[in-house]
Symmetry: C2
Subunit: 358 residues, 2 copies
């Protein structure tokens, strides 16, 4: 991979990014409580290093709110379809609000029934998958979350039509030392990473993107529109994207495959985004304290294990989130100058204070 | 990858392999119904192309039965821990029997509650993950299955201690045209594939195995004992193996990490193998016929999609299983001569008819 030049990054306090997100959403007509919830989750994405999912997305969300692509006053409904399952209809509200409601429902069901499966339709882009897989962990539960991504950046393995998203899979498990949160795209990298590379003028490594006609690699992220992302682990990532897409999409009456709206290109059409979340209540299997201590023991074994030559540290799922969170709370969130310029322009249009005045 | 020479393979009718498995297990003291169930599932593994999980495992299972490593008369118990969850204790019975019981329980719970999560402990190697993820599909349900593998062939990403298994993840989804079954190891290949390469004297490609001291690739499968398998998608496969291992192992009081018994090296110790299976009843979300038709439509889109240069056919999860099953029912199961020699020796020792007389 090319060495990354960080000289274009500016550190901005998280309270400033939070406040701008909140004020921009309110200025665009979101109710105060909803704007605050979106700002909180988007800032959590920024703090935990999901750079493609935090304030980076704000100009796009504002554009979409302006264009009428989001329902600013959704009637989010929860239909219990069986004792341990529910179907949430987001009524085209912002994904963060819809998924917050769905995660709360999965947790409430699992509290009663031991496990809960909640499917979601009528939602929208909800930020990083890890956010939602982590939610059950605060209640002593395991969380499993997935979604149909909001654009098809992949083909099926061997194919050249954009029919699959980077459909993420995230799993959260509590431990004594705090939650382990695993969050992966089924593509070789997340599309947000490609967007970040484009914004910063970086070159992508071979093997991320290919031209569907020639099969040749594309390394200029600005030309990513001509190509498609490759799946993680070849046919494995492609197969997993399909299977979880059927569960997050088709099962819930949400969009999948050919029906997915590319929300990067279309600010108006309802995306009918689908997700699912599963919560499992650990205490139904063993005391949470015993579970936590056992996970801690295994994590310690892994951390202290012998390392391959050239490896200075073992990293486990969620480590980067935790380190990043501490660093960024202290030092600020690194934003590219090009993003700050976009945000300043947006702030001027919305007549809210720019980042520099916060 | 090296071209594979198939001249050492002999086609053997599936009824012959099924009968040998059944008779060998009975000869070694398994009750008739249990032997029949194991033979049926192991033959299904052979028919569907999971070559590392069918009759290939029989000599090892027989050795383990002889050594007292399996409980031949297990009292498999199901404890309902909440309305939608259960914990199955396999009492050290053969994994196929334990997981058959657990899958049936998950299906029964999902029928009542919409979804069911069943954790398993006290089990053993149960064959290919796809077998169990597929079971709910016959009942109009989605199946999600995972397990802690029966030997630690991987390290955590960057590590050099054998602390993680190739912990598989399998997902089954019904469709009008038959179930889609996705089954992947979290390692770059399944260890059964390495065993098959060793048996047949084939060379492994670079990138499958490394020497933990030097980090150098190992390509001779007979030297795999000196090395470790690499995870699928680098840190992704390693992180996923950890997370699903915590759910299949720690949650159920089953072995994980340092506590895993290498059942290739140890025929006696209880493995306390853990699994989990989730079933979700589709009819609680939409009519099964509508779901099946929608999946069929998306599958058709994927199959008919444009192909990358040099690709002659789009393959989806489960395609190989279905083709393989039809081919092998017709032509027989391809067994390596070296395996047939092992099976003949075993048959002679057990005083049962060898394959050639069936």
């Amino acid at each position: 991979m090319n060495a990354i030049d960080n000289s274009d990054l500016v550190l901005v306090p998280a309270r400033a990014t939070l406040a701008l997100i909140n004020d921009a959403l309110v200025a665009e007509g979101l109710p105060a409580a909803d704007a605050a919830r979106c700002a909180e989750l988007m800032t959590e994405a920024d703090l935990t290093g999901a750079d493609g999912h935090g304030i980076f997305r704000l100009p796009q969300y504002i554009r979409r709110l302006k264009a009428g692509g989001f329902n600013k006053h959704p009637n989010i409904t929860v239909k219990k379809t069986a004792p341990a399952t529910a179907l949430v209809d987001g009524d085209n509200g912002m994904g963060h609000l819809v998924m917050s409601r769905a995660a709360a429902e999965a947790i409430a069901i699992a509290r009663e029934q031991g496990t809960g499966f909640v499917g979601v339709r009528g939602s929208n882009h909800a930020g990083p998958a890890g956010l939602y897989a982590e939610m059950p962990t605060a209640h002593g539960m395991i969380g499993i979350y997935s979604a149909v991504a909001n654009a098809n950046h992949m083909a099926t393995w061997g194919g050249a039509d954009h029919l699959l998203g980077t459909n993420p899979l995230a799993i959260g498990v509590p431990s004594g030392a705090g939650p382990l949160v695993f969050d992966m795209a089924t593509s070789i990298v997340a599309y947000g990473t490609v967007k970040k590379y484009a914004l910063r003028g970086l070159t992508m490594p071979d093997g991320w993107f290919v031209n569907p006609d020639s099969g040749e690699p594309i390394t200029d992220p600005k030309r990513s529109g001509e190509g498609m992302l490759l799946p993680m682990g070849e046919y494995k990532g492609s197969g997993l994207a399909l299977m979880i897409g059927l569960i997050a999409g088709v099962l819930n009456g949400a969009a999948f495959g050919r029906d997915v709206v590319d929300f990067n290109a279309d600010d108006k059409s309802e995306t009918n985004t689908g997700h699912f979340i599963i919560a499992v209540d650990i205490a139904r299997f063993l005391p949470l304290a015993v579970f936590n201590a056992e996970v801690d023991r295994h994590v310690r074994d892994l951390r202290q294990s012998k390392r391959l030559p050239g490896v200075d540290q073992i990293r486990l799922p969620g480590d980067r989130r935790i380190e990043c969170r501490a660093e960024r709370l202290r030092d600020g969130v690194p934003l590219a100058r090009a993003l700050i310029a976009q945000l300043d322009k947006m702030a001027a249009e919305l007549k809210v204070k720019p980042l520099a005045q916060r």
